[in-house]
């Protein structure tokens, strides 16, 4: 299959369209089947992926508007590959565990469209295509939050939409400007990211463009202080919405930094290390404290997401292989772990129709399986070695230590404050005697719930013990990117800060 990427992008969308004619009762089964096929396709992508090649693979290019250099241009490398697989996996698992009764068919169709936009964002190599999918992804999510959400759903949905939309408009201006500069320098129009990489921009241009892209990405990540849409969106979204939002949509922001900001503006990135690191540290500590103050389980996890995204941001701006590789890995880890945690909160919400921790207590006695899986995910979330959460966090902190020891120590407090809010959540909900009568008769995980969670547990442990199959391709692409950034950087400062690993200088090739 030469056009596997197109298939990956459009298969869910076409299946979603066909979904309109599917019978209401079988909509769920239909959705799961489609998502499963999509997931298998993405696995197939991994198996046919050439791990020794650091560049873009499975490239497809069809001119769309040749006069302006807009092409239908897709490709994956080690950085995007696993995020795609995670997106398809989480869609599948999310659908499997979905407990929505109302308008299931509409939900399935929406999710399939969402899947298209998510995969689209991560395979797009043309800025316009990227932007298209980026913005399109807002629509299904707006619908999911607005139609299936809690009491404040309309407020939350609109806030989410307008906030992220505003940021990405600024990013669009940035993209147009890059294309304009490219045209001025080379005489041809191009929106291909790979072409843009070759562009060596003066430092002041880089700074302005960095700022424009930053706004778009930072709101999506979400970075402090642009994060306040997130707790509302999570608080109101149905479980499946939160799962996808936390697992995949947030990663678009950090992916954007890796795909656009770093290789296109290496000098600006180096100049921005300190401000971004400071924001990241604020994100890590501040939101962890805010998470500790929450009374609602889901809000704790929502804020913990922000805290973890701070770690990812920090790693990206370590500008060395350990940090960026760790960040990309942490994106996967956070996607799986926070997705699972949101699903777990959904499990208890389905039973008790509340998420307030004060309503629980002693759940471990009545729901032991649930408590075990929650416990494993909790440990992954606080970064226990041999779970997926440790690898990324360790590499990020290790990577950033080279940039600034003091800031690393501050950021490292995440392992303490993270443990504080997670353990306090666990203690309040799962430990202690059962105080509420309603909790005494709660049913443990149903087979449906177990079968959606157990694969995630398996991945959490597998990638914690043996992350190599994932880490190696990521590392390869990251090294290639660093080599290339280093060559491209203009200022001496940037040349010095961008650390190319010794391993890459021997075999490194620039694509």
């Amino acid at each position: 299959m030469d056009n596997i990427l197109s298939v990956l992008v459009f298969f869910p969308a076409i299946a979603g369209l066909l979904g309109f004619v599917v019978d209401k009762k079988s909509a769920r089964a239909y959705g799961i089947t489609v998502a499963a096929i999509e997931f298998l396709l993405s696995l197939w992508l991994w198996f046919s992926f050439d791990t020794s090649n650091a560049g873009m693979q499975f490239v497809e290019m069809i001119p769309l508007i040749p006069d302006f250099g807009v092409n239908y241009y897709l490709g994956v490398d080690g950085i995007s590959l696993f995020i795609i697989i995670m997106a398809t996996l989480m869609t599948l698992i999310g659908m499997m565990s979905m407990s929505i009764e109302k308008d299931v068919k509409n939900m399935i169709i929406t999710l399939l469209f969402l899947e298209m936009t998510m995969v689209g964002v991560f395979v797009a190599l043309d800025a316009i295509i990227f932007y298209l999918f980026w913005e399109l992804s807002l629509v299904p999510m707006l619908y999911i939050v607005g139609a299936w959400g809690g009491p404040l759903r309309v407020y939350a949905a609109i806030k989410f939409f307008l906030y992220t939309f505003m940021g990405s408009l600024v990013m669009l201006v940035g993209m147009l400007f890059v294309a304009y500069v490219y045209h001025n320098l080379t005489g041809v129009w191009s929106f291909a990211i790979t072409d843009w990489y070759a562009l060596v921009l003066p430092v002041n241009y880089q700074l302005w463009l960095f700022a424009a892209f930053f706004l778009g990405f930072a709101i999506k990540v979400p970075m402090f202080p642009f994060h306040t849409w997130l707790p509302y969106a999570h608080g109101q979204a149905p479980t499946i919405g939160s799962v996808i939002l936390a697992a995949v949509l947030l990663k678009m922001g950090t992916y954007g930094f890796v795909r656009f900001s770093l290789p296109m503006f290496p000098d600006a990135s180096v100049m921005m290390i300190t401000p971004i690191a400071v924001i990241s540290i604020v994100m890590i500590i501040y939101t962890a404290m805010v998470a500790y103050a929450q009374k609602d389980m889901k809000q704790v996890i929502a804020y913990s997401s922000v805290s973890h995204m701070g770690i990812i941001m920090l790693g990206i701006f370590a500008l060395n292989s350990e940090g960026i590789g760790g960040s990309v890995f942490q994106m996967l880890s956070h996607g799986i772990v926070s997705g699972a945690l949101f699903m777990l909160v959904g499990v208890i919400y389905d039973r008790r129709h509340t998420k307030l921790m004060s309503e629980f207590g002693g759940l471990a006695s009545v729901m032991p399986k649930y408590a075990v899986i929650f416990g494993i995910m909790l440990m992954a979330s606080v970064g226990l070695p041999l779970t997926i959460g440790f690898v990324g966090e360790f590499l990020v902190l290790l990577g950033f230590y080279d940039v600034s020891p003091i800031m690393t120590i501050l950021a490292g407090t995440s392992i303490i404050v993270g443990a504080v809010y997670m353990l306090s959540l666990y203690k309040k909900s799962f430990f202690g005697p059962i105080t509420k009568e309603e909790n005494k008769t709660l049913k443990d995980l149903t087979p449906k719930e177990s079968w959606s969670l157990i694969p995630l547990v398996a991945i959490v442990i597998w990638l914690g013990v043996y992350p190599k199959p994932v880490l190696d391709p990521i590392n390869k692409s990251v090294n290639a990117m660093l080599v290339f950034m280093d060559e491209k950087a203009i200022t001496a400062e940037a040349k010095e800060m961008i650390k190319v690993p010794h391993a890459a200088t021997k075999t490194g090739e620039v694509k």
């Binding site: 906030y163 202080p225 642009f226 994060h227 306040t228 849409w229 501040y286 404290m289 805010v290 500790y292 103050a293 060395n320 292989s321 350990e322 590789g325 760790g326 890995f329 002693g362 471990a364 032991p368 399986k369 440990m379 606080v382 226990l384 070695p385 041999l386 690898v391 360790f394 590499l395 902190l397 290790l398 990577g399 230590y401 080279d402 020891p405 690393t408 490292g412 407090t413 392992i415 303490i416 443990a419 504080v420 353990l423 306090s424 799962f430 430990f431 202690g432 005697p433 013990v465 043996y466 992350p467 190599k468 880490l471 190696d472 990521i474 590392n475 090294n479 690993p501 010794h502 391993a503």
Partner: protein, 632 residues
């Protein structure tokens, strides 16, 4: 030999997974048996490895697979069996096996019997990873692994309710578990930073590569690495000021206290210092600090043990105190003595704890020694065991503690650190006093338990038999001091007393002995005949200070936990909601209200529109004119 390494390492893991299969079902006796057998296998394998290393002097190094590789960082799952790790392996598996067998009896009536074995074996596996790893990252895996298992095991009776601090110093098992985990995490951050320092300066985390590269590093880097690694050690080994979790950890089942919070996990910090001895011996200032802190903790913890009424807490304080001794030895450069005391201490302290477990079992979970007394009639063997262990702990000649602890005190003299020496000697006296205060109050004197309607009974026979290896070792371990020194100094730096110290060693020994015997005698005088409470003493400020652990837990509660919760609450309510979110909403509201306000312009009256149009046209003209004037 490689297979033996894997057997020793993975048998506990298999045991844990096997027990976990039945984790949610009711008690199954065979789970305990299988787990104990698997641990026994691990013990046998460890002992075979020990004899191999001992006889041949070879070390075994295996690399199983890669773990993390990114950039220039390569961390394998590598294991090394050398003199130090094989000592630790033997101690860990020996105590673990005994504790596993013991738990079959102790957890007899617990409905979560199977789950307990799963956790316990998982702990042993983590501990084995910790001691066997050939690199700092692997050590860190074990380090965090034992932390989690400790969390699980302290909070094993998670269903217990929170109570106020007046009733129970540690509030509840789940609270104590969280406290332990979080405090350890604080130290773990230090440890991680230590790893980062080593990695960025050496380029590897393998022990051998790191140690080989140390001479090329500058003094400040060495100091920083040593300090941060030691911060990590302080958490695991509960050194001041991160010590409060250890006594609260006594909320866990007693076998756990014996295994984790006495014999193995808490010694991990000491193990780290011993393992990283090339680093610490190059940083004399840090080492001196370690010795001083260790001495301080030895005294500090012993002082709190003097007045405590809780059977397990007394032993916990004593553990803390003995850890202080070990750090003192390691800090003074006598690494092998620290390791020797670690091993000897593991035996008699585990024995002491298991004995306390018997008492608890007999007394229906009553821990207040003021409510016991006269138990020797019903619990003869337990009395003997605990008596032996206390003799060893007090450092009475020819018991294990005599050889190891005396060596540490002698080291302090030999190094010329007389203040440390003096404190350690006084502490030895205090140790003897509180150990025998506890033994006498529990086993001798009037039978106070009768008022509380308790009918004590001796532990099962097989449990008592299972404890016997520890008892034997507590008595005889000291006689292996010479071969042990010979064995481990193949890897660790040798430490010899100076001629002068050697000369007066007998005198030093007598001084210590006088203090130890004095302590015992005082305890005998005060408590042998039963409990006579001294109201004046108990209401004095220093008694209260000690009984309240110098008010440190309250201090942490008032000045760390509560402010943290309060600031968090403020951050959320005041900052996040009122400032950050309100700003965003404010912008949106501003836009909305501007639109809402200007909506009034749309009256529907054409004449008004025309007026506005004219205004707009004039405005545009003015702007054009002004900009033309300015630019043109």
């Amino acid at each position: 030999m490689e297979n033996l390494v894997y057997i020793a390492l993975f048998a506990p893991l298999v045991s844990s997974l096997f027990a976990a299969l039945f984790g949610m079902s009711p008690k199954k006796q065979f789970v305990g048996v299988v787990a104990s057998v698997l641990l026994g296998i691990s013990l046998v394998a460890s002992l075979m490895l020990a004899s191999y290393v001992y006889t041949t002097g070879n070390t075994i190094h295996v690399t199983m697979m890669d773990w993390i590789s990114a950039g220039d960082l390569h961390i394998p799952f590598g294991f090394v069996v050398d003199q130090v790790s094989v000592t630790m392996m033997s101690v860990v598996t020996l105590v673990s096996t005994v504790v596993h067998i013991y738990s079959n009896g102790y957890m007899d009536h617990d409905k979560s019997f199977n789950r307990f074995f799963s956790y316990l074996s998982a702990f042993v596996f983590s501990m084995m990873v910790l001691v066997m790893s050939d690199n700092f990252a692997g050590l860190f895996i074990g380090w965090e692994g034992v932390g989690v298992c400790s969390w699980l095991l302290i909070g094993f009776w998670y269903h217990k309710e929170d109570v106020s601090r007046e009733e129970n110093p540690s509030i509840s098992p789940s609270w104590a578990a969280n406290e332990a985990f979080i405090m350890n995490r604080i130290a773990d951050l230090g440890m991680l930073v230590g790893l980062f320092i080593l990695y960025w300066n050496v380029g590897s985390l393998q022990y051998d590569e790191v140690f080989a590269a140390l001479p090329h590093l500058s003094g400040s880097i060495l100091n920083a690495a040593a300090i941060f690694l030691f911060i990590g050690a302080m958490g695991k080994s509960a050194q001041f000021p991160l010590h409060t979790w250890l006594t609260d950890a006594m909320e866990g089942p007693t076998p756990v206290s014996a295994l984790i919070h006495a014999a193995t996990m808490v010694t991990a910090g000491v193990f780290l210092v011993i393992r990283a001895n090339p680093l610490f011996s190059m940083t004399p200032d840090v080492s001196y600090f370690i010795a001083a802190l260790g001495t301080f903790v030895a005294f500090f913890a012993a002082s709190m043990a003097l007045v405590n009424r809780d059977l397990k807490r007394i032993i916990a304080f004593s553990t803390l105190s003995q850890l202080g001794y070990m750090f003192a030895a390691a800090g003074l450069g006598a690494y092998w003595i620290a390791l020797f005391h670690l091993a000897a201490h593991a035996f008699f302290k585990a024995l002491l704890f298991l004995g306390a477990g018997n008492v608890m079992h007999a007394m229906h979970d009553e821990l207040d020694i003021f409510k016991m007394g006269g138990l020797k009639k019903t619990m003869k063997w337990t009395y003997i065991y605990m008596g032996l262990a206390s003799l060893a702990l007090a450092g009475i000649p020819f018991f294990a503690g005599y050889f190891s602890k005396d060596a540490i005190i002698e080291t302090a003299w030999n190094e010329g650190t007389l203040v440390l020496w003096l404190i350690l000697v006084v502490t030895a006296g205090m140790t003897a006093f509180y150990s025998f205060r506890q033994v006498f109050l529990t086993f001798e004197g009037d039978e106070r338990y009768k008022q509380y309607g308790i009918h004590p009974h001796e532990m099962y026979k097989y449990v008592l038999i299972a404890m016997s290896p520890l008892a034997i070792l507590a008595v005889i371990a000291g006689f292996f001091k010479e071969p042990f020194e010979h064995f481990v100094t193949a890897l660790l730096p040798e430490y010899h007393m100076s001629e002068h110290t050697h000369h007066i060693a007998w005198l030093l020994g007598i001084v210590v002995l006088v203090f130890a015997v004095g302590g015992i005698a005082l305890a005998f005088k005060k408590y042998y005949k039963g409990l006579k409470r001294d109201e004046a003493l108990e209401s004095s400020w220093y008694y209260k200070l000690l009984a309240n652990q110098y008010y440190i837990p309250d201090f942490y509660e008032e000045f760390i936990s509560k402010p943290y919760a309060m600031i968090s609450e403020k951050m959320w309510n005041s900052v996040d909601m009122r400032i950050v979110d309100a700003t965003v909403d404010g912008i949106a509201k501003f836009l909305y209200e501007t639109g809402d306000g200007s909506r009034k312009m749309q009256t529907g009256n054409l004449s008004n529109y025309l007026n506005w149009m004219a205004v707009g046209a004039v405005l545009l003209l003015v702007v054009a004119a002004v900009s033309a004037a300015v630019i043109g």
